[in-house]
Symmetry: C2
Subunit: 197 residues, 2 copies
DNA sequence: GTTTTTATTGACTGAGCAGTCAATCAAGCG
DNA sequence: CGCTTGATTGACTGCTCAGTCAATAAAAAC
């Protein structure tokens, strides 16, 4: 029973199903049938709307990226001052909507895929650059430029590292302690580098 | 022309070939034929010696783990004092024998695999625990126990994060700046937490 | 009410790949 | 010199899966 304007609905459902499937399998080694099945459609329809598996996966990655971007922008708008902006960025990366097993697994899987696929690598670089520049733009208000850039890299590395390490544990992710670790670094780094004041 | 006592040679050659292949493809999605071909033998022989693909991959991971373990022990023996031991651990993780594109890609791929395979997860947990306990045992000599444990997790996360972020870049890995980031954290953390002295 | 467009699928194909097996070849061994 | 044992492979078997296509059916357009 065909209905009208199904394209956006189906695309969305397929992307959601892909995240779910990838999160459960823990890798991009999911079949189109699996994804389509979860979305309640036939595999053929998934091909119809996305062209191929690569395209579906790329769209899924883009979706994840966009979601994180939106969350970050929203959190940034709510933050008052440089210091608060950094905390907002960190908190967003470990917020319940981002720091879930499925999402973590998907990010990890996409990192691996980025080694093979130029498209994926480009996408992930967008994420890395955005994170770095958001952090750096706040940090330069708190310490000398050079130290700010270093701190931005250190924080970014810690965040990614906490994600990857999370993959080894089972049960629900512990965002609180992850945030605490990053905030601890932030606190001592700012204390150390703040020019007198 | 069969020769005698080939088993250890073949196993080693196949593992080396597996690391190479995984490093190049950037994922565990390598065929037995590919690996066997690189090792100069038929796919059937790879099955003969390892039983199945999973077993070959597990053996490969174990090899990587053992190599890192040996390097770490050696570096630790050369280090004098708690502070030097930490630097030795960090330096080992970013040493040329570990911080190479193939090895990095392989580690990343195994992390992903760990989400699916209990065997892999157990293996990786061995690595994580060892790293953490090596770091912690040196850090407790430099700061209060609780802070030492936190610092150990932070450093471990930074190391893993620098590995994963490395995967996005091209060209040879830059170990120096990676080490500098971790050492910077270490320095300010020690300065901050050292009881007076 | 006929034609076009959109939605949807079942059935199929072709490729790639893990794993098997029987056969071959060369050493050592009695 | 037969015999066992280890090394090695080619050829083969299923299986899984991405991608295709023609067919169907409902809505839209005219």
């Amino acid at each position: 029973m065909p209905k009208i304007g199904m394209e956006p609905l189906r695309r969305r459902a397929l992307i959601d199903a892909a995240i779910l499937a990838i999160g459960e399998r823990g890798s991009l080694d999911v079949t189109m049938s699996e994804i389509a099945g979860r979305a309640g459609v036939s595999p053929a329809l998934a091909h119809h709307y996305f062209g191929g598996k690569e395209d579906l996966l790329a769209a899924t990655m883009r979706h994840l990226l966009a979601e994180l971007g939106r969350d970050t922008v929203a959190a940034l708008r709510r933050a008052d001052g440089a210091r608060a902006r950094i905390s907002a960025i960190v908190a967003t990366n470990f917020s319940p909507s981002q720091f879930r097993s499925e999402t973590i697994a998907a990010w990890l899987a996409f990192y691996v895929e980025a080694q093979r696929s130029d498209a994926m690598r480009r996408l992930l670089r967008v994420y890395a650059r955005r994170l770095h520049s958001n952090l750096a733009s706040a940090l330069v208000e708190l310490m000398p430029r050079l130290e700010a850039l270093r701190a931005a890299e250190a924080i970014a590395a810690m965040i990614d590292g906490l994600y990857i390490r999370r993959a080894l544990k089972q049960g629900e992710p512990d965002a609180r302690s992850a945030i605490a670790l990053v905030e601890d670094y932030l606190a001592i780094k700012i204390a150390r580098e703040t020019p007198s004041a």
